[in-house]
């Protein structure tokens, strides 16, 4: 059970309580509430692509209004960005208490970590200002319009003249300005509290939680804003939480949460299901979706953040073109410190929102091929002999895997960069055995460095002062796995250089090039800290308080490790790093994979893993997975088997287990479980060409790797809340993992006017906007194929993905009733960066008019014709297509025994088989060994 007492509720988090109270108070005013924030019309300047001005916050207590400089930037991609700062803090014109060394400004470097670009400003933008409002038209064909009202300050965002998003429409904007602490005499309580002056001041200057005191040297400084999605009933995103894909309301009521969704990266032990409680990572991106329209916001702030969600039924909204009423989703965001920095995406499709967001924060890394294979992990494989034996056992049982993992026990007394000399006397020998089958080793390195004598790493950390400091600017000391520890401060560029030096093969002895990394505990987890993390008044590089950077901290650590791995090999033979992280922020997708942390061997956790992973997929971090089998506890064999069947469809596919659990490697499962698990693993491996192509697409467009229903069918309202079935990229593969015990059948929802085939039996399932039921004995994975796709596959099972490199392809074609299908295939060497110099093959397959063609995905002109490409194409030239399976062919094909293959202008006849489907099953034709080469142009005439 999760220990609730270790983590704050909103009431226990000063600024959360204050901002919620602000909202409650505003609600008591109803329509009479006037937000005290106005945009000074005289300050408004319209430039090329952006607007600046000063928002004035009037104080009830009188006195000079607080000046809040605002900048609205409008990007070519159609994204609008609203940034609000505070003049006095900007000018460092404030005093800090307790002689604090902390920076005086609001934290303004979150963008530097999260974004890869600020985006090109929109040159075609036009703006006009009147006394009441400033109106900006921007985006492609000036499709978008932002109406900035001056008094009170608010912004309405329109697309095609339809209102979609309102900022400060409810007047919940709250920027806690700097003030000196005054010791007040008790004054009478007013009946109706003014949200600004009458508010609860008890947490302005100091907060205590679980015996830890937060000294808050800058006093209250939170930023809050309401963002309403007009006419939208569903919102998604803001991972990570163990919640549904379609987010729930958070202000109480039946089926709703009482607490806001919280984003404050934490090591939550035995986290609970269906909860808005914070978890290990934070991506403050939210999408709102309704029939045929998707919009979104990105709240760029690294401090503790909470989000309240309320859905309001509206009889008819005068601002919306949606007639007859609908539902608005009203959200309220607040962060403890930093800038108020919001990005607004106006869609119109989920694809557009994710693409715009990914363009800003970076696309997901194109991982090495092995990373998409199966990962075998456990806390702990206890010795190098143990690792070798597990490796051998996989081979003896003909079960494929790519990576074996070492948890913390491989180290000498939890000192990272060392090996336990008794248990791991020969790490290089172990790595060689793995490398013989192109397998890899992943070892864990955490950000806490053991504070002990005779340990070079901590000695250097101390002498070079590269650790996080406490509030007195002394090296911070806390407790984690090794006992007393210090934490590396990866905000510091010098730390990154130093960290890089620790990973060289010479420095980290016992590591070969097939060793990769796992960064855990980087929330950071501090066993004796408040909420199991760092005190907020700790100081990082640049004198930023930990409070300001907390949610980004984990990403900076992975960033340092990424740099280190990148530079292990000489520049000419650089390979893509692989890092798994537990903590993450917007932008972490550029650096590796994430998993959902320490789950439990329970059916509920298996079920929850799917919406959790889907949420990460639509929030720009698709390389996500959950521990297969469940971390804590011993799964039943049925649960373990079903978990493998589900895990085969996680973008990141790793089994992991706690040290107190029994061993559960697949070969130990016994009959019939071992065989069934093996089949699930082989299914994953045979579909690796499709997975890799999907990852490539994610790395260039930001598209989710597994796609929820609303993403794939944005018009089908019945499926907007579906979060237990999903597609693999754009392959048309529709999976619905079994997540209940003893399931004899499962229902799958199929949208109207669609057609599906069972992946294994080719049973026909027409989609009618209702559910179909298919039987699910233990060996059945519910997997359908949507008609109209061409899925690349490799049918030869091998010991690891690396050994499949030159195996022939199978093309699996599912025909629409019109007889069409298409798909693509991306291949490269799966490890280097040569693909950036053109060393890849990307084919576009089209089936139409009884002809299948393979053409280059790229246009001839854009194609890189460099040396690396030529070498790669030559190397792959022998790789062929071994069979083409066409599902859903007309019965008339039975008579055809031969098809004509045309490659390099030469035609030849090739044998084709035909199998009549019978009742409810599709006819299938198979072209046997067309012999065409995967990298070339060819066509097959049927």
């Amino acid at each position: 059970m999760v220990k609730h007492e270790n983590f704050k509720t909103c009431e226990q988090s000063g600024f959360c309580k204050r901002n919620r109270a602000y909202a409650d108070n505003v609600a008591t005013y109803g329509n009479t509430w006037a937000s005290p924030y106005t945009l000074d019309p005289n300050s408004v300047r319209i430039r090329h692509g952006y607007v600046t001005g000063t928002v004035l916050k009037s104080l009830k207590s009188g006195g000079q209004a607080v000046q809040l400089p605002v900048k609205l930037a409008f990007l070519e991609s159609g994204v609008a960005r609203v940034t609000i700062d505070e003049f006095k803090r900007q000018q460092k014109d404030i005093g800090l208490r307790h002689g604090s060394q902390a920076r005086k400004e609001r934290y303004n470097e979150a963008a530097a970590w999260a974004l890869v670009t600020d985006g090109e400003l929109d040159k075609s933008f036009s703006g006009e200002e009147s006394e009441e409002e400033t109106v900006v038209r921007y985006g492609p064909k000036q499709r978008y319009r932002a109406v900035i009202r001056h008094d009170p300050f608010s912004i309405d965002f329109f697309r095609d003249d339809e209102l979609h998003i309102k900022i400060n429409g409810r007047g919940l904007m709250n920027v806690e300005h700097w003030r000196a602490m005054v010791v007040k005499v008790e004054k009478g309580k007013s009946e109706k509290k003014d949200p600004e002056d009458g508010e609860d001041e008890s947490t302005w200057w100091e907060e205590t939680f679980g015996g830890n005191i937060d000294s808050k040297p800058r006093g209250p400084e939170s930023v809050g804003m309401d963002i309403s999605f007009i006419g939208y009933q569903h919102v998604y995103g803001i991972p990570g939480h163990a919640s549904s894909l379609s987010l729930k309301q958070t202000r109480g009521g039946p089926g709703n949460y009482e607490q806001p969704y919280r984003l404050y990266n934490s090591d939550v032990f035995e986290y609970e299901m269906d909860s808005p409680m914070t978890l290990y990572g934070a991506i403050p991106l939210m999408q709102a979706h309704r029939k045929d329209s998707t919009v979104g916001v990105f709240w760029l702030n690294a401090a503790e953040t909470w989000i309240d969600i309320v859905k309001q039924k509206v009889s008819s909204n005068p601002n919306s073109l949606v007639t007859g009423g609908g539902t608005d989703t009203e959200t309220h965001w607040f962060s403890e410190s930093g800038l108020l920095d919001v990005f607004v995406f106006l869609g119109p499709s989920p694809k557009d929102v994710v693409a715009q967001y990914s363009e800003l924060t970076g696309y997901t890394q194109l991982p090495q091929q092995f990373a998409l294979g199966y990962h075998q992990c456990r806390w702990n494989y206890v010795s190098d002999e143990d690792v070798k034996e597990v490796d051998t056992n996989f081979d003896k049982n003909n079960i494929p895997y790519d990576v074996i993992w070492l948890d913390i026990e491989y180290t000498d007394g939890k000192k990272y960069f060392t090996w336990d000399p008794h248990a791991f006397p020969d790490p290089l020998g172990m790595e060689k055995q793995l490398n013989d089958q192109e397998r890899k080793l992943v070892v864990i390195i955490d950000p806490h460095i053991k504070n002990v004598d005779n340990y070079a790493v901590v000695k250097e950390l101390k002498s070079m002062s590269l650790g996080v400091k406490d509030k007195n600017n002394k090296l911070f000391e806390g407790w984690c796995w090794p006992g007393s520890s210090h934490w590396v401060d990866c905000f510091n560029p010098v730390t990154i250089d130093w960290w890089r030096s620790l990973f060289t093969y010479k420095s980290f002895q016992g590591t070969a090039p097939n060793v990769f990394l796992w960064n855990d505990m980087n929330e950071p987890s501090v066993f004796n800290g408040p909420e199991t993390t760092m005190p907020k008044d700790n100081i990082h590089h640049g004198n930023w308080e930990h409070r300001d950077v907390h949610n980004i901290n984990g990403m900076t650590f992975v960033n340092a490790t990424f740099e280190a791995l990148l530079h292990r090999d000489p520049a000419i033979s650089r390979r893509r790093p692989f890092i798994l992280t537990r903590s993450y922020y917007a932008g972490s997708q550029r650096l590796g994979a994430m998993w959902t942390g320490d789950n439990l061997a329970a059916w509920s956790h298996l079920a929850a893993s799917i919406p959790m992973i889907l949420t990460h997929n639509v929030a720009g971090f698709p390389f996500a997975g959950a521990d297969v089998g469940g971390f804590f506890g011993d799964p039943s064999k049925e649960l373990l088997t079903r978990w493998y069947q589900a895990g085969a469809f996680y973008p990141f596919f790793r089994a992991h287990a706690h040290t107190d659990t029994r061993r559960r490697e697949p070969y130990l499962a016994g009959d019939p479980y071992k065989e069934i698990i093996t089949q699930a693993l082989r299914l994953r491996y045979s579909l690796l060409p499709a997975w890799y192509t999907t990852f490539h697409s994610a790395s260039t467009t930001g598209a989710p790797i597994i796609q929820p229903h609303y993403y794939a069918h944005p018009s089908d309202e019945a499926g907007f809340a579906l979060d237990d079935q999903f597609y693999v990229g754009s392959t048309g593969l529709l999976a619905k993992p079994v997540t209940t015990a003893g399931a004899e059948s499962i229902s799958i929802y199929l949208p109207p006017n669609t057609l599906y085939y069972d992946y294994f039996t080719y049973t026909i399932h027409p989609g009618t906007g209702s559910t179909i039921t298919i039987p699910t004995p233990l060996d059945k994975i519910p997997l359908l194929m949507r008609a109209g796709h061409i899925i690349p596959r490799k049918d030869h099972p091998r010991r690891s993905s690396g050994l499949m490199r030159y195996d022939p392809y199978t093309l699996l074609i599912t025909l629409t009733p019109e007889g069409t299908a298409n798909g693509d295939l991306y291949i490269d060497d799966g490890e280097s960066y040569d693909y950036q110099e053109g060393a890849f093959i990307h084919r576009n397959f089209t089936f139409a008019l009884n002809s299948l063609s393979s053409l280059d995905f790229e246009d001839e002109k854009q194609r890189n014709k460099g040396k690396k490409r030529r070498e790669y194409v030559r190397q792959m030239d022998r790789v062929r297509v071994e069979k083409i399976i066409i599902v859903g062919v007309p019965g008339s094909w039975q008579a055809r025994k031969e098809v004509r293959v045309v490659e390099d202008g030469e035609g030849r006849g090739v044998e084709m088989g035909f199998e009549r489907g019978g009742a409810g099953t599709a006819n299938v034709a198979t072209v046997k060994d067309p012999g065409v080469r995967i990298g070339r142009d060819w066509r097959v005439e049927f």
Binding site: F269, K396, Q437, D660, R663, F760, D795, E882, T926, D929
Partner: protein, 558 residues
């Protein structure tokens, strides 16, 4: 799928190799050659009704549901009983889709032929362990070239094999010695049994004599005149002393009891603290000190605790601690002024009689009394002090009884020992109580034959019992034997079960399965923790040498 390895070394294949050296398709072993003899068609082995043109054999496309058309490629490697859906592409019905062939056949000229799993054919890795001729990579994918290394590998293997043979013959010799030792040990036991039996017989006879002696001595004793038990004054003095003493004990009892109650309270408080500690500590933090404390507490809490003072017991104590009164247990007053019993009156009569008559009466009375006592009419006077003769007779009897009992116990133990299972030829009798150890990681592991298994920490010398010997058993193993011969190999192996070791935190009691294989010397090869606190030791010992051979023969016959 299945255990291809079991079939990898086909020992007898070598004799056929010349006879079957026809134009077999690639990857076909001689024992399957007959299926591939036809020159125009091929019938799938498990489904002969499916006939293919011969050109379909080894065309790298899977046609047969049992994969038999692709003995030399990996095209059918995906087949298993659970993948009935696609052979080439098309779903098929109830056909057997288990692979018909054990794998890709490597001829390995110069060494021993063997089968490589189909998944390994043309995957770009030279699997020399199974296929020293490198023929599994005939397609040279990605430019790989696997040279034929059978000559050197075969040579090396033969060298090692020779060593193994030598070692095996040494081991067999050593086992003979062990068996001889065991026989001697057994003989020693048998001799002991014989000696004990003789001794016991003698003692039984002796015992009878001593019993008679004692009876007579006691008879004499009973007849003796009993001196008047002390005067009434002495008895009341004794009663007074006893009364004081009991009062003292009573007070002491009350004091001890209140101390006990206080301790009980403190224990409850401590247990409360520890219970909360256990519930509230964070197991994820893995602080060894904390974990150890929790573990200790759990062990403590799991043990059967003696109930300290249940209610009934307390009521008894209440009763005992009451001061003796009119209604109390002992009525002291009655003792301080003793009443005379009938017997006493009888004794007193003699005082009034003349001396000769008194002697006559005395003798008669004594006889009568003995008679009455012997017939159970009168109780023997408890206050009769034993005479020296009786005491001596009793001691002699007791000593003989003890010795007899002891000898009988010993006899039983030895007899049981003879019936105990010491393995084939009684061989483990020779090893009993000997121990062997092995360093592994941070521990030294110890195996004591038919004793216990232990894990000894190198850091703090802490000893953890991993099981106590329970039984001799057998298990089937399937391991490869490394070149040094220190491995179990495959087949049925003798195993020793050690159970009920120290309790494991969050787990069962520790247990160890000790699997034995023939070796020249006793040696602990490998220790693994198969599951939490379930250990497996792989041990070489000459003790099982012939047994293993027998098991092997048995298996071959099957």
């Amino acid at each position: 799928m299945g255990r291809l390895e079991a079939l990898l070394i086909v020992g007898f294949a070598a004799c056929f190799i010349n006879a079957a050296e026809g134009p077999r398709p690639r990857g076909v072993g001689p024992e399957f050659a007959r299926f591939y003899e036809s020159t125009d068609t091929f019938s799938c082995i498990s489904s002969p009704s499916i006939q293919l043109p011969i050109s379909h054999v080894n065309d790298d496309f899977c046609d047969c549901p049992d994969g038999s058309d692709e003995p030399g490629t990996s095209a059918c490697a995906h087949l298993s009983s659970l993948s009935p859906y696609t052979v080439g592409a098309v779903p098929i019905g109830d056909v057997n889709t288990t692979l018909a062939l054990p794998g890709y056949y490597c001829k390995n000229k110069g060494h021993q032929p063997s089968y490589v799993p189909f998944t390994n054919v043309n995957d770009g890795v030279c699997d020399y362990q199974l296929c020293c001729d490198g023929s599994d990579e005939w397609a040279k994918v990605g430019g790989i070239k696997c040279d034929d290394r059978c000559k050197e590998i075969g040579k090396e293997w033969r060298k090692l094999d020779e060593q193994r043979q030598k070692s095996a013959s040494n081991a067999a010799k050593r086992r003979k010695e062990l068996v001889a030792q065991a026989a001697i040990l057994r003989q020693e036991v048998e001799v002991k049994i014989h000696t004990l039996e003789t001794e016991i017989q003698a003692e039984e006879i002796k015992l009878k004599g001593l019993e008679a002696n004692l009876a007579e001595a006691e008879r004499q004793q009973r007849g003796k005149v009993v001196k008047r038990p002390g005067s009434g004054g002495k008895l009341s003095m004794l009663a007074q002393l006893a009364r004081d003493r009991i009062e003292e004990l009573r007070e002491a009892l009350i004091e001890v009891r209140s101390q006990r109650d206080m301790s009980k309270g403190r224990i409850a408080e401590l247990e409360g603290i520890l219970t909360t500690f256990k519930e509230e500590y964070n197991p994820n933090f893995n602080d060894e000190g904390v974990k150890r404390a929790v573990r200790g507490w759990e062990d403590y809490a799991a043990r059967d605790k003696p109930t300290i003072g249940d209610e009934a017991h307390d009521r008894d104590l209440d009763e005992i601690a009451k001061p003796d009164s009119e209604t109390g247990a002992i009525k002291w007053n009655e003792w301080e002024e003793p009443e005379e019993s009938d017997v006493d009156v009888l004794y007193k009569i003699e005082a009034y009689l003349p001396a000769p008559f008194r002697d006559w009466i005395d003798k008669k009375l004594r006889d009568l009394r003995v008679l009455l006592i012997e017939n159970g009419v009168l109780a023997p006077s408890s206050d009769v002090g034993s005479s020296k003769e009786v005491e001596e007779a009793r001691n002699a009897l007791k000593a003989t009884e003890d010795s007899l009992k002891n000898n009988r116990n010993q006899l039983n133990t030895h007899k049981e020992d003879l019936e105990k299972n010491y393995g084939a030829d009684d061989v483990f009798r020779a090893l009993k109580d000997q121990c062997i150890t092995k360093d592994s990681g941070e521990y030294t592991y110890e195996l004591c034959w038919l004793g216990s298994t232990k894990q000894i920490s190198k850091k703090n010398n802490g000893r953890t019992t991993m099981g106590n010997f329970v039984s001799i058993d057998s298990v089937t193993v399937d391991d490869e034997v490394p070149p040094d011969g220190k491995g179990l190999g495959s087949g049925v192996r003798v195993a020793l079960r050690y159970e009920n070791g120290q309790h494991c935190w969050n787990g069962p009691n520790r247990s160890t399965l000790v699997v034995l294989a023939c070796a020249e010397t006793d040696e602990l090869w490998k220790i693994t923790e198969e599951e939490k606190c379930v250990y497996r030791m792989e041990v070489g010992t000459p003790a099982v040498c012939e047994v293993a051979e027998k098991a092997q023969t048995l298996k071959d016959e099957l």
